[in-house]
Symmetry: C2
Subunit: 290 residues, 2 copies
């Protein structure tokens, strides 16, 4: 008896994939499952980085719209084999895993070792952002743009990808234009205070566990989690046919999903906040081919 | 040269422990380092659970003020050896790691298998909460109470521990009074939508990595991450002299720390939000004895 109820609780608590009860508001899972084929997009393999770590590979979707130079440069670094044999050398629990060239001595071939900051995109015309409620302490406007959680300034002339869990960004020193090779992935609660202080240029589509499971223990003062290599997925299509689809964030299904997450209709819930924060909205992502 | 700047960047980005520049606003690290001895409290070992997992032990501070029955019951379960040989059997990336008795068949000795819900504490008189800015989409008031991130209803008659990263809570099925043995620890971005839907009754003081590093791979359909045992730290003082101190959340140092996190004065920052969300305020915790 308890096993059933226990596992039911597990299923409910861990995935919120309970069947919708007869409620006006559909559940998140029913919204996702009933999204039309046209409401999903196939992620361009030329825009995906595959990072191979000790326990497996993580796949990152780059964000060339908001950080074109960073997206292009890391693809060049990958194509030049820059990351092969380097490591994830810093891990701060609940904050970030950072990788690249701790020595700073590895030669650069056709890419840049540092890039101009791309903390936000400046635009004169409005972008097609799927907006969330404006109750956000960190930014005047938050929402979603082409598959990424974003925020804008009051005038809506600046747009940046926000620091949620699992974003892909570029470390820098005090010089805002110093970042170029040392990437990090956010772990834990989204560190929104970093927004507009550093260039965020992607998110983990699959494989967060391979960052979370890294060793935290330095050996002889150095933490070394080997990066077997980083590739642009399109370049290794012969060996890796992975394909991912992401629910379009400007689709009606995604807009319904926001409502479903703001007001949970699953029987399990007794309270629902009529709210979801921009980092509390997982962007539905599915693997199509392995 | 880059090595230095690179490592400087790492230090800044990963720990924000840069030396304060000459600014009106002290840095978070300087506030913590200059807190007086009286502003820290030693965590009562009788209120700490030690959970031993495959890669090491996690230490949990229980929250008896907000969930007395759950705090007392899990101590009894630990003392009865209920968790010995059980496992963390569900892991949902970026959400929770859940452990206990997946079979539901293990006998209970002196504790309860299910408890009345303790989703929030109801009080007539005001509690001494260190309040944050009220901009929070999930609750009318958020802040800190005796070392835990909390929220309140409009009337301030209900107080609950909020779902930040690393909280300790009790799974349940659709019956709100069904939880009692199946605990979970939150991973990733704080799932605030669970607030007031389930009993939160502690937080991880140390050892989040031992939850984050668990296996996600089921074997023959079952995920089994063995729990060597769970003990009340005070009961094993002869073998484990671990001692922790936590910055008092009603201290002036903690109030200064809120300001320091809302407005970063480290040289590295170019933008600062004048805001911090309740789950974005790590509660300073230090190990005193190993």
């Amino acid at each position: 008896m308890l096993k059933k109820s226990c596992l039911a609780a597990v299923a409910l608590i861990l995935s919120q994939t309970s069947v919708a009860k007869t409620a006006a508001q559909p559940t998140a899972s029913s919204v996702i499952n009933s999204a039309s084929a046209q409401e999903w997009r196939i992620v361009d393999a030329d825009n995906i980085l595959k990072i191979t770590l000790p326990t497996g590979s993580a796949y990152i979707e780059l964000n060339p719209l908001l950080a074109p130079k960073h997206a292009e440069n890391i693809k060049q670094l990958a194509r030049d084999g820059f990351y092969k044999g380097l490591s994830v050398y810093r891990f701060v629990e609940g904050f970030v895993a950072q990788g690249g060239d701790a020595s700073g001595k590895k030669a650069i071939k056709n890419a840049s070792k540092s890039l101009p900051a791309e903390f936000y995109l400046t635009t004169a015309t409005a972008l097609n952002i799927t907006e969330l409620d404006i109750t956000d302490g960190y930014a005047p406007l938050t929402g979603f743009l082409k598959g990424f959680a974003v925020a804008q300034n009051e005038a809506q002339t600046q747009t940046w990808q926000v620091h949620c869990n699992g974003v892909f960004a570029m470390a820098r020193d005090n010089n805002i234009n110093s970042g170029g090779t040392e990437f990090y992935v956010t772990i834990g609660h989204g560190p929104r205070y970093l927004d507009r202080n550093i260039t965020v240029f992607g998110r983990v589509l699959e494989g967060m566990e391979h960052f979370n499971r890294l060793s935290r223990t330095p050996i002889e003062g150095e933490l070394f989690n080997p990066i077997a290599d980083i590739h642009v997925l399109a370049d290794i299509a012969k060996h890796d046919t992975s394909q991912f689809k992401v629910l379009k964030t400007d689709s009606n299904a995604f807009k319904s999903l926001i409502k479903a997450r703001q007001n949970r209709s699953e029987e399990w819930f007794v309270e629902t906040p009529d709210y979801v924060d921009v980092c509390g909205m997982p962007i539905p992502t599915k693997r199509l081919k392995s």
